[in-house]
Symmetry: C2
Subunit: 234 residues, 2 copies
């Protein structure tokens, strides 16, 4: 967004995963970039706070929306841990919202998120699986459209298998399911299938999975959850 681009342009230092910083070379010269490898979230957030305390303007960058399964929460947690109650030790933190994966997947699939939905991450690296299962079960029983983030990786397939059985026990095999991978990138892929046909091997860490509710249909190839405008008029 323009607001995010401006923040990167005006920053003294830009910190983020190597792959994302490579996309920002039009906004920030190499000397200002601090690329990190995957999985160094804590170091990245700490480095951002440390350099900001030295007086630099720092932009911490993530994909999608940094406040939805992103690094924003970690920054606030570290600030609170290091100087509890100090209103961020005089650091000014501005969080700039982005397009989260649920929004971009929704746009590419049609409009499955026209009615109430739940966003659930299947990554159980930091979060106990018991809680994830509880939230999944509630969403499945409540007939919410379900958006799954981080559904599976090469090694971690068990959570997605269990999520599928929770959903299949409560929804028709005809329920539309959308898979979006690398939204708005060169190797984007968009697939519409059904809950019955979906195979575990079709998803990986970069796939967003959208499972429809009882009101979700496929209209001319687009996955749409009916909000009721047409019925209301009739």
């Amino acid at each position: 967004t323009p607001r995010a681009r401006r923040a990167v342009r005006e920053a003294d230092l830009v910190i983020g995963y190597r792959g994302y910083l490579d996309l920002l070379t039009d906004l920030a010269a190499d000397g200002r970039l601090r690329p990190y490898d995957l999985g160094q979230e804590h170091q990245r957030a700490s480095e951002a706070i440390r350099t900001a305390r030295e007086g630099y303007r720092v932009a911490l960058v993530s994909s999608g929306d940094i406040g939805i399964y992103g690094m924003a929460g970690l920054v606030y947690e570290i600030l609170d841990e290091s100087e509890p109650g100090s209103e961020h030790g005089q650091l000014r933190v501005e969080m700039i919202p982005g397009i989260t994966a649920a929004s971009s997947a929704n746009a590419l699939l049609g409009a499955p998120l026209m009615l109430d939905f739940a966003a659930i991450s299947l990554s159980d690296l930091l979060v106990p699986w018991e809680g994830i299962r509880r939230r999944l079960t509630a969403a499945a029983e409540g007939d919410l459209v379900v958006v799954l983030y981080n559904p599976a990786s090469a090694r971690r397939r068990q959570p997605f298998e269990e999520a599928l059985s929770i959903l299949r026990a409560r929804r028709s095999p005809e329920t539309p399911v959308g898979l979006v991978r690398e939204a708005y990138r060169a190797d984007q892929s968009v697939t519409v299938t059904t809950l019955g046909d979906l195979a575990v091997g079709q998803v990986d860490m970069r796939t967003v999975v959208v499972i429809g509710s009882a009101r979700t249909e496929v209209l001319n190839g687009k996955m749409v959850t009916r909000r009721g405008y047409l019925e209301a008029r009739a």
Copy 2:
């Protein structure tokens, strides 16, 4: 976003609610604007489709993300109704995602959406209240963070009152609650309170309400749901 701005700039006609089109005068001359009053959703979508069929490039504009409680679903429904199975009767529909109210409220409040959440609209104009109540109850029981869209209007306060009692029956009165009104506009307001203290009169149609889960805390004035990075490291 840049993608949305480009679409408006390149459109022959720009259709939308009067109040939003007033914000676009730098992108589109008056002669290309087709302003509508509130509540004319069906006319707006039909006009967009009719003029697009005549060969014009039409931009249909809404606030937030047009695919999340917006007009996108209605467009697909009307297209399907008028020419079922015809792949939109040769019309090319491109949906451009935006920053939905959940994302902007999240950024202004801190990072309450760091963990799984449900987005639920309390508008029962088109959607049966029974279904909304079912989804709310499921989300409350599953300990999802809950984001309420369209919580109440001057005349319609009953749904929000019922939502509050569903949530209060299942969460501590100390649960953090965030209220965001007119995000990123001149008259923006951001309030953090608790589920126990929240009063029905504090919200209206333009307020987004974020109710925390058991993992949500207020850190230095910011509402944050802990994802577990710090515990994982410890």
